[in-house]
């Protein structure tokens, strides 16, 4: 996914962080044009664009279409139904601590003292 500085800002400072934390979960996305897409969330970027796999699309007329992969633009999303039992704040904090672990931390002695 895009890694512009704007996207990184959104990925860390908006609720997109929760959608990113929900990667690999099964979600149901309701779009603004009244379609329902059920599938496994593989990827989400800072803007909220979604990549789902093994998806079933149910359009407004009730027609079901199965696709291996679908890319959903963030602007077309109305709702994302998340798995029932998750606690949003816990998932966000888990995701942030996982990201901090991957990023190399500045050794304490080189950290500037906050004035």
């Amino acid at each position: 996914m895009a890694a512009s500085s704007r996207e990184k800002f959104y990925a860390n400072n908006t609720l997109a962080v929760l959608l990113i934390a929900m990667e690999n979960n099964n979600v149901r996305v309701e779009t603004k044009n009244e379609s329902l897409i059920k599938g496994r969330l593989i990827n989400c970027d800072g803007f909220g664009n979604l990549n789902l796999i093994n998806a079933t699309i149910i359009n407004v007329r009730g027609r079901k279409i199965k696709v291996d992969e679908i890319y959903i633009k963030a602007s077309s999303v109305r709702y994302v139904q998340l798995p029932n039992k998750i606690n949003p704040m816990e998932e966000i904090e888990k995701h942030i601590s996982r990201s901090k672990q991957r990023k190399p931390q500045m050794p304490a002695k080189y950290k500037k003292e906050k004035t």
């Binding site: 908006t14 609720l15 603004k32 999303v77 709702y79 998340l82 704040m89």
Partner: protein, 105 residues
């Protein structure tokens, strides 16, 4: 809710300075959300951000539709409700957020 690091004043996150702070007062409470396309949500506000993206738990969605009777031309209001355990709402559909309306208030 994703806050910037603003650690200079310790209780800064507790003063109400801008309209978004009013929503912060409703965190973990039940809220009423009016959305575009004649939709309303009532649920527990778990998280929100500056775009008014929100995460609501145990939310009931009400969709109001108007049918016009062909013969009498009267307007029939139909409401469709459903409940969703945990819902992420995209902010561009949100019109307003409020504590839930109490009967008689």
């Amino acid at each position: 809710m994703a806050d910037d690091e603003d650690q200079q004043q310790a209780p800064a996150s507790q003063t109400v300075e801008e309209p978004l702070d009013l929503i912060r007062l409703s965190l973990d409470e039940r809220v009423y959300v009016k959305m575009r396309n004649e939709r309303e949500l009532r649920g527990r506000l778990h998280a929100y951000d500056q775009h008014l993206n929100m995460v609501l738990g145990e939310v009931e969605e009400t969709v109001t539709a108007v049918e016009i009777d062909e013969e009498t031309y009267e307007e029939i209001y139909k409401q469709t409700k459903r409940t969703i355990p945990m819902l992420f709402v995209r902010g561009d559909g949100v019109i307003l957020v409020s504590p839930p309306l109490r009967a008689g208030a």
